[in-house]
């Protein structure tokens, strides 16, 4: 070791000792450094979401120093020529100024918006991985519920964020959100006027309240839930795919220090890098092109951000049913597409662990993951459900499809009203048979389970029914379901 290395080593040792004298944390640090993470790449999807959230917070702090939550109308006399003399809200003007005159202002605004889109996309991809590998089973069902809650909050947060700007596009979206709130049976009127501080477009306190929700309330909730989410993972250890040496009772992977920490930091930097590249090079939400919002204005082809697209599709797809009894509008039309549909989707997702437990009668603890093909029914149901949501989402673009391909809008709506129910059934059947044929083909076989399945005879002797195979057989990760007693194996 040369002089430089010796010097660095001494300094480092001294610092470590100084820290431990004050905090006594060396034991915890040692535990953390030896902590083992399984290495599969799909386990990094949640981290992509986490790091996007960090970028959101960092860039968001910058934005919040410039944004003015003011609804009062002002006349613009700034540097953007197309809006000279135009009447707009203070909020819109503050974001316009940020985008046109503040150095690096547009960069941070665009990075923030791209990060929001990528954040929710990463959560959805992560959710799909969790679902199709069965990672939501005990003991991780609690974490699964926390994750779904974070997805709901993230969607609300994104919508609130781009609605703060009060441009033409997001203003139209707020009007629709108001209508969905109004459409909730019985309490809709009170709920909507409570949130908006009066009939739409609301009182002067709406934008400041929305800002507090977006800047403080939801981010704090998300950060708290993320901490709990990660804490539970640390307590339970991450799940892993079956493989050599990998058992229900252990975790095989890379320890935190040094390799995993470096790779994780690398992923954080890659997320930030990609988001900053996007934020500088690809334009997003050019609000100066949309102009300010006024309730008597609208434009063709207005769309919400992608994670709300499933709702615009649902609203367009619904026939004009409005339940009216005795002059009272019991269920206004936007309720179906705007409230009932997303509640149903999330409801099914929340209920799924219990539904699966009911049908498989499997209440064991699971720490080994399934490959999707090894659970054809679950995978097929998941694919069918996903296709149902995706079709509704795609209906949100029927106007551009008509514009580009000439297929009439009314025809598309009529076709999709049927297709949205028929296609998921076809997807279910196709996926189930694809899983089964993948299993049969033996491609990428899983490592076999080991042991014996036995039956105890009345006289106490034991019959061996099934032995673990010598050869690698696909789909035989674990002993057949139902052959264990359903209680945890003893340690």
């Amino acid at each position: 070791m040369n002089a430089v290395e010796r010097h660095v080593h001494r300094r480092f040792e001294r610092a470590a000792r100084a820290g431990d004298e004050r905090l006594g944390a060396m034991g915890a640090i040692r535990w953390a450094m030896r902590y083992v993470f399984p290495d599969h790449w799909s386990f990094l999807l949640g981290e992509i979401a986490l790091y996007s959230f960090m970028v959101l917070v960092g860039t968001g702090i910058f934005l919040t120093l410039y944004y003015v939550p003011g609804a009062s109308q002002v006349i613009y006399h700034g540097s953007y020529p197309l809006l000279q003399g135009e009447q707009m809200s203070e909020a819109y003007r503050s974001v316009l100024d940020l985008s046109t005159t503040v150095p690096a202002g547009l960069l941070f605004r665009q990075v923030h918006h791209w990060a929001a889109d990528v954040f929710i996309a990463a959560i959805v991809l992560h959710l799909m991985r969790v679902f199709f590998t069965g990672a939501y089973r005990k003991p991780r069902d609690l974490n699964y519920f926390i994750g779904l809650t974070m997805l709901m909050l993230a969607i609300l947060e994104g919508f609130a964020g781009y609605s703060l700007v009060d441009d033409l596009l997001s203003g139209m979206g707020l009007a629709i959100a108001y209508s969905v709130a109004m459409s909730i049976p019985l309490i809709g009127g009170q709920l909507a006027t409570l949130i908006w501080g009066g009939p739409f477009p609301g009182s002067g306190s709406f934008l400041p309240r929305l800002e507090i929700v977006h800047v403080l309330l939801i981010p704090v909730a998300l950060a708290a839930l993320m901490t709990i989410h990660l804490g539970i993972i640390m307590r339970q250890h991450h799940s892993q795919f079956p493989g050599p040496g990998r058992r229900e009772r252990n975790v095989v992977g890379t320890p935190m220090w040094p390799a995993y920490a470096l790779r994780s930091i690398g992923l954080l930097l890659a997320v930030s890098g990609v988001l900053f590249l996007l934020g500088g090079l690809v334009q997003i939400n050019p609000i100066w092109q949309w102009g300010p919002y006024h309730p008597y204005l609208s434009e063709n082809g207005a769309q919400p951000d992608w994670y709300i697209g499933w709702l615009i599709g649902a609203l367009r797809l619904m026939p004009n049913w409005e339940l009216v009894i005795g002059g009272r509008t019991i269920i206004p039309n936007p309720f179906w597409g705007g409230a009932a549909f997303p509640l149903l989707v999330f409801g099914v997702m929340f209920a799924w662990p219990a539904i699966e437990r009911r049908f498989t009668r499997d209440v064991r603890r699971h720490d080994l993951l399934d490959r999707p093909r090894d659970r054809p029914i679950r995978t097929a149901i998941g694919a069918a459900f996903l296709s149902w949501v995706v079709i509704v989402f795609a209906v949100g673009s029927t106007d551009r499809i008509f514009y580009r391909l000439g297929i009439s809008y009314t025809t598309q709506i009529h076709v999709w009203r049927v297709g949205v129910w028929v296609i998921p059934i076809l997807v279910f059947l196709l996926t189930r048979s694809a899983c089964r044929s993948l299993q049969r083909s033996g491609a990428h076989p899983l490592r076999a389970w080991q042991g014996e399945v036995v039956r105890r005879r009345p006289d106490g002797a034991v019959d061996v029914i099934v032995e673990s195979p010598d050869r690698l057989e696909p789909g035989t990760t674990e002993p057949p379901v139902g052959t264990t007693s359903g209680r945890e194996a003893s340690d």
Partner: protein, 305 residues
């Protein structure tokens, strides 16, 4: 089909029969209702016009608005020779729908006798006319006639009468005023930066190829289903400004980078998933292990026997 259904209903499985039967019933009902239920209480298609009432012969069409007093107009070449040439061209391409003397044919095409040069120049120079089928939507296409032939047709038909053609001068317009007026009157159909759109069962064109002359003509006449605007509502300065704004939309202020066609969140979502998230998934695959990689044995060289 029925035997499949019966087999599915009666086969043994964990899902109880009653549940499967209910599911089949519900799905069948939904399919039938979705197909049969009208989306409203009225008509949807292009063909029905009066909701069941018999169409009147020659109902009023909207006539083109005149350019307005003291407003600049565009004069097209006119001569006896041109009119004669126009007559020949007209008989060959237009008279089958519009009548031999441009009087229109009821139920097929309107009269051209009082339209003036503006609509003629617009429809012919954008290739929207001649139209194959009377009920089709006229769409922009390569013009069927040369400029000289269009002038001839204009000379012939506008001899029957009608207002002079309007015109627009973008450089005389004000960009901010154009943006304001376009947002108020045009963006609902044409999209805020004129990328086009739809209405129920008609496509609304984008305005990327339209010339200022065509803009002026379209605003004053309202082609096909488009409303028209007279000089009291959109005066000449407004018109010049709107034309200037439309020209600007071909290269809007994309200070944020690649404009991805300026239609908003649809291309943005595509970029977020297929560029942003895709790149990060590739990075994740580089960092992590894959299921199909061979499991690393402690000393690969020694194990390779």
């Amino acid at each position: 089909m029925r035997s499949l259904l019966v087999r599915w209903l009666t086969r043994r499985s964990r899902v109880p029969r009653i549940l499967r039967a209910t599911l089949a019933l519900v799905l069948g009902t939904i399919a039938i209702v979705g197909l049969a239920a009208p989306s409203s209480r009225g008509e949807t298609g292009a063909a029905t016009t009066f909701g069941g009432r018999a169409p009147e012969p020659n109902p009023p069409t909207k006539s083109p608005e005149p350019p307005g007093a003291d407003n600049p107009t565009k004069t097209f070449p006119d001569s006896a020779a041109l009119r004669a040439q126009g007559f020949t061209l007209y008989q060959g391409s237009c008279s089958s729908c519009h009548g031999i003397a441009a009087q229109g044919i009821p139920g097929v095409a309107p009269s051209l006798r009082a339209v003036g040069a503006g609509p003629l120049d617009f429809y012919l120079s954008t290739g929207r006319m001649p139209l194959e089928q009377p009920r089709e939507e006229p769409m922009r296409s390569p013009p069927a006639f040369t400029r000289a032939q269009i002038d001839a047709l204009i000379a012939f038909v506008s001899a029957f009468g009608g207002p002079p053609a309007p015109t627009a001068n973008p450089s005389a317009g004000d960009l901010a005023l154009g943006f304001h007026e376009f947002t108020l009157n045009c963006a609902g159909c044409h999209q805020i930066v004129a990328r086009g759109g739809i209405t129920v069962d008609a496509q609304v064109p984008d305005l990327e190829q339209t010339t200022p002359q065509q803009i002026a003509e379209a605003v004053r006449m309202g082609p096909y289903l488009m409303p028209h605007f007279d000089s009291a509502q959109i005066d000449q300065h407004d018109l010049d400004s709107i034309a200037r704004y439309i020209v600007w939309t071909r290269h809007p202020a994309d200070s944020g980078g690649w404009g991805i066609y300026n239609i908003g969140p649809i291309p943005e979502g595509i970029v977020a998933w297929f560029i942003g998230l895709a790149a990060l998934v590739i990075v994740a695959r580089l960092i992590g292990e894959r299921m199909d990689e061979p499991v690393p044995t402690p000393n690969p060289r020694e194990a390779d026997r």
